[in-house]
Symmetry: C2
């Protein structure tokens, strides 16, 4: 492709700013329009999660653009899940049996600012803020914007438009509403919503609870989690049904009732949160949705990327990582030297969509795992066995969590298929008493491997009807 | 519920007219608005399928309203699939090993007319035609209509509005666009479209090919099917990709190319269709989509039913049957004596949605089965074995097709889970040479049953984590 091509990017969030940086590095003329003010000079939270889980797939993209060291400085390692029971007892359940495998808590704002700084270092990258995209004419490859201050509207054209404007993408809406081509689309809402709260730093600026873990108070039908921030605070998130169960967002309407709920289910957390009631009534309650769609592109004119193409629920900690991986995968297709954008977009979607569909489904599964299964005896037996496999045979076994999170060189779909087969194999063998946990670990590993292969093979036969 | 309740039904298609009839029988004041003219006095095809597969789930609803004998007169039994190979050789593959299990071809127009006639016999049922619903205010329980002739708009209110206005439902659009509640929604298009064609009756008014079968010319990546009509004709449907493969809808643009395509792949059908080219260029090409959504209702005010709630692709012959079953299931909930519409709607959706989701997925699976697998050796071995089971042990085995089509007293979801497990069991045992087709049939039946139970049990453990 000609380097002189003008690429318009809609949205300078995490995905858009990384894409601008990478395409800038590749020599394209890149112009980015963002509807919000510049977050480097304005304090905006925008109602979105304050910190995020950052892991190996995201890091691979940081390495691609050469800023992995700078990003590392923003990271707080989380080695496992700190499970809090009703009495306030805690258990650290590691994410992996391999010590070098952990996830990180990172500030959305700091990471986004870094990416914008790096992108702006390239003369061929221009950033515009306070310009909201209203719609995209994908046949003409033009986008309509409105200036936040003057309210003036203006049209920009480009050789290619890439929309990284998030779950509520304006370009995706233009695809949907135009009815000019067959656009498959789904939005699926959970019956649960979320609300962000906080554990403030202690008086001396330290952490009030264990720093290097993702804290979980799983209560089967709802849960609370907490991720650490560099300033000693934790961002706490309550996931709760809007209208079902004894306590839900619709009926937690008084100070007394909120304190009663937390006192009953999250006693040890409540002790760390004297600011709970203020947070609870000041912060919004937001829904949790999954968006899938296809095609992501219109001919060689326009392309959706990141959350605009595939918004997922946050329970696998992969939303940002998946969007960063989009850029890695897109870059890989650019390297293949195709002669036109339509081919590039087609190949990219064909390679990529199966994987973003998979992480969307995995993220919903993990909601159930986090709020309930972590308390389940058989689930814990499975995890203990897997941790032992990973520790003792680090090159021979990876749990589903590890395949998804720490194996950035296999796709999400492959991780899902293998991971689910392993889970099914182990749970069934535990249920049928076919695994003796006192047996030699190597014997059990071989049993699990064989049962996993059998399950994968049976699924293959049933799906493909061998010819 | 008070019988004096005013119920407004939007859409007098197959589902709406059956619902009007049933609610009329139950004593409600029913008013129906239909956007098309009255099909009993106007010749309208409306671009929709001319004939449909009618089977046991649909018939159960006809029995509920007492018109099963009248419907039977409109039916042409189809005992199996007549498979046509490239050379024009045919094989009849029965739908069941039990002789009384068959499906029927029925005229959409004749059946709809019968339902309208029956509904109109009730004084408390009023039908209005040529009134198009533009939107529904579900908070006020009012609907906005436009008269086709005068173009005047008017608002109707009711105690309850039920929208049976099909896959493009105006009320569903109002749900989606309002953003007043969390509305999960998906539309999924196949890459294939369809076009209706015809085999006309022979000169003496007879059938040019075998009457009592659903004819299939399956060619792996596309297919042709034909269903008989009472007048001696067959309605033929071509399912073909819009833009992939050597021949597709986008490139079949000349008479010569259409004849070349049919001559190459559907030689024996072409011989029966001297009218092919006219049909091909006169009739529209239409897309094939699946629609799912939730919730179907807004409080106790409004409810979606039939295709408006769950549009499916036609490959299981269950679209109409599923919509009729909606009425049976809704009627069952009315019998339970709940005190308010919101409870009725909630219970109905809870009971029903899992089943309409299942038939949507089954219908897509069957597309692949019809166009390809019917030609596959292992698939045929499986079907032959299942036909033998059903014939020799009629009370002990039902194939997936039979569970879905002829077992109206179990839900689609249960039929899907059991049917898929059976398919997986048989295909895997055939693949691994664990079934000897020369063995005693009873032995093989027991093997299949045992393997099926094992699969169902393993899936249960993996999904539910036994507590």
């Amino acid at each position: 492709m000609h380097k002189q091509q003008n690429i318009l990017i809609i949205g300078a969030g995490l995905c858009g700013s990384l894409l601008a940086l990478r395409l800038g590095q590749r020599g394209y003329n890149v112009t980015v329009y963002e509807m919000r003010p510049d977050l480097r000079t304005n304090d905006i939270s925008a109602g979105r999660s304050i910190n995020l889980a950052f892991s190996d797939r995201g890091n691979k993209a940081m390495t691609l653009v050469g800023i992995e060291d700078k990003v590392k400085e923003l990271c707080i390692p989380m080695n496992g899940r700190m499970l809090h029971d009703l009495e306030g007892n805690t258990t650290l359940a590691p994410y992996s049996g391999r010590e070098h495998e952990y996830i990180n808590s990172i500030s959305r704002g700091q990471l986004n600012a870094l990416l914008l700084d790096e992108a702006e270092k390239h003369k061929n990258v221009t950033l515009h803020f306070n310009k909201k995209c209203k719609s995209v004419d994908f046949e003409k490859t033009t986008a309509l914007f409105q200036d936040y201050h003057s309210k003036n509207e203006f049209v920009e054209d480009a050789d290619v438009i890439i929309a990284t404007d998030g779950a509520g993408s304006a370009m995706r809406k233009s695809y949907f509403l135009s009815k000019k081509f067959l656009f498959s689309f789904s939005q699926d809402w959970l019956t649960h919503g979320y609300k962000e709260l906080s554990i403030l730093p202690s008086e001396n600026g330290g952490y009030k609870t264990y720093k290097n873990a993702l804290h979980i108070w799983g209560r089967d039908s709802f849960m609370l989690i907490a991720l650490p921030n560099l300033d000693g605070s934790f961002t706490v998130t309550l996931f709760l049904s809007f209208d079902e169960g004894e306590y839900n967002f619709n009926n937690l309407t008084s100070k007394e009732r909120v304190l009663e709920f937390f006192g009953k289910y999250f006693k040890d957390a409540l002790e760390l949160m004297p600011n709970l009631v203020d947070d609870f009534f000041e912060n919004p309650t937001s829904p949790l949705g999954t968006v899938k769609c296809s095609p992501w592109h219109y001919k060689g004119n326009t392309l959706l990327m990141g959350d605009a193409a595939h918004a997922i629920v946050p329970f696998y900690g992969q939303g940002m990582n998946a969007s960063f991986e989009d850029v890695t995968e897109f870059d890989k297709v650019l390297d293949e030297g195709h002669q036109d954008w339509e081919t590039i977009f087609k190949v990219y979607e064909k390679n990529r969509k199966k994987d973003t569909d998979a992480i969307a489904d995995l993220a919903i599964d993990n909601f159930h795992e986090m709020k309930g299964h972590v308390n389940n005896a058989m689930f814990r037996e499975k995890r203990n066995l897997e941790m032992a496999f990973e520790k003792q045979f680090p090159n021979e076994y990876s749990s589903k969590y590890s395949l998804v999170t720490f194996n950035e060189d296999i796709g999400y779909r492959e991780a899902m298929l293998r991971g689910r087969a392993q889970d099914k194999a182990i749970l069934n063998m535990l249920s049928d008493n076919e695994l003796d946990l006192n047996d030699d670990l190597k014997i059990n590993l071989e049993k699990v491997k064989a049962a996993t292969e059998a399950i994968l093979d049976e699924d293959r036969v049933a799906k493909n009807l061998k010819h």
